[in-house]
Amino acid sequence: MDDTDDLGKAIEAWEAEVEKSLAKRPERKASFETGSGAPVKRLYTPLDSGGACRGAKAYAERIGLPGEYPYTRGVQSTMYRGRLWTMRQYAGFGGAEESNARYKYLLSQGQTGLSIAFDLPTQIGYDSDHPLSAGEVGKVGVAIDSLADMEVLFSGIPLDKVSTSMTINAPAAVLLAMYVAVAEKQGVPPKALEGTIQNDILKEYVARGTYIFPPAASMRLITDVFAYCAEAIPDWNTISISGYHIREAGSTASQEVAFTLADGIAYVKAAVEAGLDVDGFGPRLSFFFNAYNDLFEEVAKFRAARRLWARIMRERFGARNPKSWMMRFHAQTGGSTLTAQQPDNNVVRVTLQALAAVLGGTQSLHTNSRDEALALPTEASVRIALRTQQIIAYESGTAETPDPLAGSYYVESLTDRIEEEASVYLKKIDEMGGAVCAIEEGYVQREIQDAAYAYQRQIESGERVVVGLNRFQAEEGRPEGLLKLDPAIGERQCAALGELRARRDEVRVRAALRAIDATARGDANLMQPILEAVRSYATLGEICDALRAVFGEYRPSACF
């Protein structure tokens, strides 16, 4: 205790000296803040750093060792000394052939996992020839109408040799079934498959917008996937509970953690209520976070999220398997931080954000490309983004020891702060009846919108500097060499659909769709009838229509 008192006195004296010197050498600003607006003090010392520097007991409780509860320092004991994170670039556009060529290119460049971007009609369960699909087919991702497209998408890519992440939510069960069916055709059994489906509907309601069904039906589809995978595809990540889009929608770092974990709690509760064993599905839950601009705050965010989730799973849900306590996550650099102005500067932003994800112990990473504020990225831009990860991995030295920023007085203090702020939100959401209620009441959306508006006002007042946008601007020519999509993709996709419907076994398709209807009305697992429908070449739109007829559709209220 005496040591602490002495240090306290020394700091007081130091502050007094600094205050005196400020008259002559003032600080740049009256107050300093993190990227999320949390106050930053002039100095951090052992007195601020939570448990880190206050003895072995506090250290063990709050920080611990890598690969050990509460996993503040990472989920593996050797982290990147054992294996580097998976370098996984989100990609997909046009038709299945074009995307297949991009995946093969990325794999040839040293990428270690696939990440599939689907177009909006696919994500919302409409076929390419649906009236609402007009203009959207193949635009923000690849168009998949049936198993036939999926076969082309993965042609020449052995599914027992890659891990594949699919950003698909409302119709996640259907796309997972297609992936399993493609594997069967390749002679790969489901048990050998590795990958992730996003399957996180709650953040779609608040931040991303590709919902189809109302919450209760959506939660049932999600827990059906949990149950199916536990048996059939034990190494599959059944959900990727996503803060990424919450942050993109404008939240702060603490809100990103809080709202993501609140969603996670809702899924675990739903699965337990559906009769599943928490240690049966718990180890396959995964997460997805943003890597934003403030390097230290972001590192602290990842550390705080791991610590919180470990405690939630162990203390609240009584999970006994350490794998259920571990928060494994994917990270992507912050798309909304990219500027259309001086786009090459984005390479530097992405580097810093990727560094935060690595210092924060991510399991896989997507680095954005410099031209993404303007268009889908070109091959050249994607290559730089992938090389950025490789330079961090092989040249920067950050991958050589786990959690290298642990014990930084500042980072430990930020970790504690984010944990506390997120805990306050979690308590409030619990009191509202959980994440589903908080979302239905619009609470989560309002909190995010308020933060987004405050952020924009800071940019417009100049209080928040964005290089090239509101400071250090330059005259620029038109951006050159952007990726242009084939405008005929919509017609091609519709023509192929027509041919498919003409050649498939219509009797088998109708029977499969009737089985989906019947199963949806009861409470048996939907995965088997969906698999049969997929194998019969029923289209995604037909399968989702069968579910819409039973479940209805989500109708949000529009507020701002």
């Binding site: 919302i124 203009g135 959207e136 635009k139 405008p487």
Partner: protein
């Protein structure tokens, strides 16, 4: 006579990115305009119907999915069919510069790209309504 400017902020197409639309809507409201937000996934028909029903002066379209070349001209044609082609229509989102001349030809008064200060869009609307 000093009626507030009425704006419909609309999200045509299927994309769910409405951070920008909501921020712009709020900035317009703070600037004294009356703002109606359609919410996501509006068809051109729904947008035009809302614009006519709400008797707005301005339609502000936001899109990030790349479907603007199909959807914006359709909005303009339907507005003309309803005799509402005197409305000021502006747009924002991720819209390549190469596409802007075509959209202007179809009657979109201005296209605001990423990073545009909300004040700039608001000033544009105020100046262009006054000029009419």
């Amino acid at each position: 006579m000093d009626r507030k400017i009425r704006v419909l902020v609309a999200k045509p197409g299927l994309d769910g990115h409405d951070r920008g639309a909501k921020v712009v809507a709020r900035a317009m409201r703070d600037a004294g305009m009356e703002v109606i937000y359609t919410g996501l996934r509006q068809t051109p028909e729904q947008i035009v119907q809302a614009a006519v029903q709400e008797d707005v002066d301005v339609v502000a379209l936001s899109i990030l999915s790349g479907a603007h070349m199909q959807l914006f001209p359709r909005v303009m044609r339907l507005l003309a069919e309803k005799g509402a082609d005197d409305l000021l229509v502006v747009a924002g989102g991720v819209i390549p510069e190469d596409d802007i001349p075509f959209l202007k030809e179809k009657g979109i008064a201005a296209v605001f790209g990423p990073g545009t200060p909300t004040r700039e869009a608001i000033d544009f609307i105020e100046a262009n309504l006054k000029a009419r």
